[in-house]
């Protein structure tokens, strides 16, 4: 590899380089200036902003870097395309929000002397995620996934304030270790069958006539285990409620949005580059016969959302309830992939944007309330509607949006999923998903019932958020309502972002 080629390749991964540099700077800064920890979050935001700039710069640019051989079909380990840039930008934006999120978190502020570690680990996760969404080589995918996982294991138990932190961490670690082991074994089988680890090169090899399809299916199910664990789809969801409940709320919010998005990006890229031969003019993907993704995903998604919604009905802890709700949302999101069309893919991207807004908003308010009351139990929300009017109304709007009622953004997200399903003539699946929405209404409204309908026995202290906190909530709340009635920009953006390199 000569110097000019190296420079060119490095220019493809500028965002990743910026994030790594920021990670190193944070660690060094923390080591050298012990007393100025307050500056670290600003460093983090600055690093993310620069990375975001380079990502936006990469839009409408396609290319592939770090090819292992200089053969004709020169596909490398990293792919730059709009699809990847969309998710990178998504991760970076969510991360910026998470940094501000951490400002208000009492759990994080209590461990102030370890702030450097905290941000270093957050950046480890971010780096893992943005590599994951653009990696097109199984080796790199595995490494990015592990970088993401290892950082998040530690973060889940970061505060060590309560037993449940460490326990959440241990559970996350064990389930994570097992699923990555399964995934690695799947990768090794695929490698053995095709002799390559590059997704683009695997594609034509899988079309070979004399392939042992059972082995391919077995390997793919193993790989899916690893991804399913990241997106917390049933039956790999067992860790989700425990980790979400046990981890600090900031981390829970981060895991439920960014980490899930990275997992979905990986799944979509894996299916599309490895298993799709071509996209027909009406937007439907032609799959290689080697493995029936559609059947697997239909079962998984229906199972995931039904299980998530029905289990959420019985939860008394709001964080745990939102964990099950996030499982259910993974099910809805999978529906966008089930249809195997560009239309479904657009729906997923739209849904993710809206999901991030409303989910982060809900978690943020839960955190502000927990800061004051020290509790996340739904029973303790009784009468909060009058004690914290602004927080109550905002939480109500976020929950209504999560249910998917107009005129909120959540409705538009769901609408696009259903439009994709109906267009693919999967009416039965659409009906099951819609019925699931009705079920989900019950547990979201239960929170509203406690806040507004029930009178609390003892008067609650008023909870008054600071101006900065109100501003942060409004940043999430206004788009949630606005995109419910005017969603053109997001849809246009998503439509421009569905192109993967080579398709």
């Amino acid at each position: 590899m000569d110097a000019s080629l190296l420079t060119e390749n490095l220019s493809y991964i500028l965002p990743e380089i910026v994030i790594s540099a920021a990670l190193i700077i944070i660690v060094l800064f923390d080591l050298i200036f012990h007393n100025d920890k307050r500056i670290i979050p600003y460093l983090a935001v600055a690093g993310l902003a620069v990375a975001g700039f380079f990502i936006i710069d990469q839009f409408s640019f396609e290319g592939s870097a770090f090819a292992t051989s200089s053969s004709a079909n020169n596909f490398g380990m990293i792919t730059v395309d709009n699809f990847g840039s969309f998710f990178k930008l998504f991760v970076v934006c969510v991360s910026i929000l998470i940094v501000f999120f951490s400002f208000s978190s009492e759990e994080i502020q209590k461990t102030f002397d370890r702030l450097g570690e905290y941000y270093a680990l957050i950046f480890g996760m971010i780096l893992g995620m943005i590599i994951l969404v653009s990696a097109s080589d199984l080796i790199l995918i595995y490494l990015a996934l592990e970088l993401l996982s290892l950082s998040s294991y530690v973060l889940a138990g970061f505060t060590k304030l309560r037993d449940r932190n460490s326990e959440a961490s241990l559970k996350y670690l064990i389930f994570g270790g097992v699923s990555s082991g399964l995934m690695l074994f799947g990768i090794s089988i695929i490698y053995g069958m095709t002799g390559t680890t590059n997704l683009y090169l695997i594609n034509p090899l899988l079309q070979a006539p004399n392939l042992n399809l059972i082995t391919v299916s077995f390997a793919m199910i193993l790989i899916f285990t690893g991804i399913g664990y990241k997106i917390s789809s049933a039956p790999f969801h067992f860790w989700t409620p425990d980790v979400y409940e046990g981890a600090p709320i900031v981390i829970t919010a981060f895991l439920s949005v960014a980490s899930k998005a990275a997992g979905f990006a990986l799944l979509i890229r894996l299916i599309k580059t490895t298993f799709v031969t071509f996209t027909s003019p009406d937007g439907y993907w032609q799959l290689i016969n080697a493995f029936d993704w559609q059947a697997l995903l239909i079962i998984i998604s229906i199972f995931t959302m039904t299980l998530g919604n029905f289990t959420a009905l019985w939860q008394n802890n709001l964080k745990r309830m939102l964990a099950y709700s996030s499982i259910a949302h993974a099910g809805y999101l999978l529906l966008g992939l089930v249809v195997m069309s560009d239309q479904g893919l657009t729906a997923i991207l739209i849904y993710f944007v809206f999901y991030a807004l409303m989910n982060l908003g809900a978690f943020y308010i839960i955190m502000l309330i927990a800061n004051k009351t020290g509790s996340e139990e739904i029973d303790d929300y009784t009468g909060l509607g009058s004690a914290a009017p602004f927080l109550g109304v905002s939480l109500a709007i976020f929950l209504v949006s999560l249910t998917g009622l107009p005129p909120t953004a959540g409705f538009i997200g769901k609408l696009y999923i259903f439009i994709a399903l109906v267009d693919a003539k999967m009416i039965a699946v659409a009906i099951i998903a819609l019925l699931n929405t009705v079920v989900s209404l019950y547990y979201y409204v239960r929170v509203l019932k406690h806040m507004y309908l029930q009178k609390s026995d003892s008067p609650k202290d008023a909870i008054l958020p600071s101006t900065g906190q109100i501003l942060f909530i409004l940043i999430l709340l206004v788009p949630t309502l606005l995109f419910g009635v005017y969603f053109t920009p997001i849809v246009t953006f998503a439509k421009n972002s569905i192109s993967l390199l080579g398709f």
Binding site: Y142, E146, L170, F185, G192, G195, G246
Partner: protein
Amino acid sequence: MNSIPIEYYLILSAFMFTVGVTGVLIRRNAIVIFMCVELMLNSANLTMVAFSSYLGQSAGQIFVFFVMTVAAAEAAVGLAIIIAIFRNKLTVNIDEINIFKW
């Protein structure tokens, strides 16, 4: 390498993998569970190396280096978490670490 057919390696690694999965499922000591996870990773490594040699490629062996590094990092993180738990609970039996239902 010609002397030992590839099937032997694959059977061995499949066996190791099964032992690993079974161990994770039935053992109750967090450290043993961890060792079983390592066993799973290593069985994948073995497959990779065997295929790499069989196909006459180097990619698989390079992959194994990465996996070994990751496994080491994972072990470090894992043991740290287990120690954190042990300090609080004085046990590493996962049946007794049960604030949440397993």
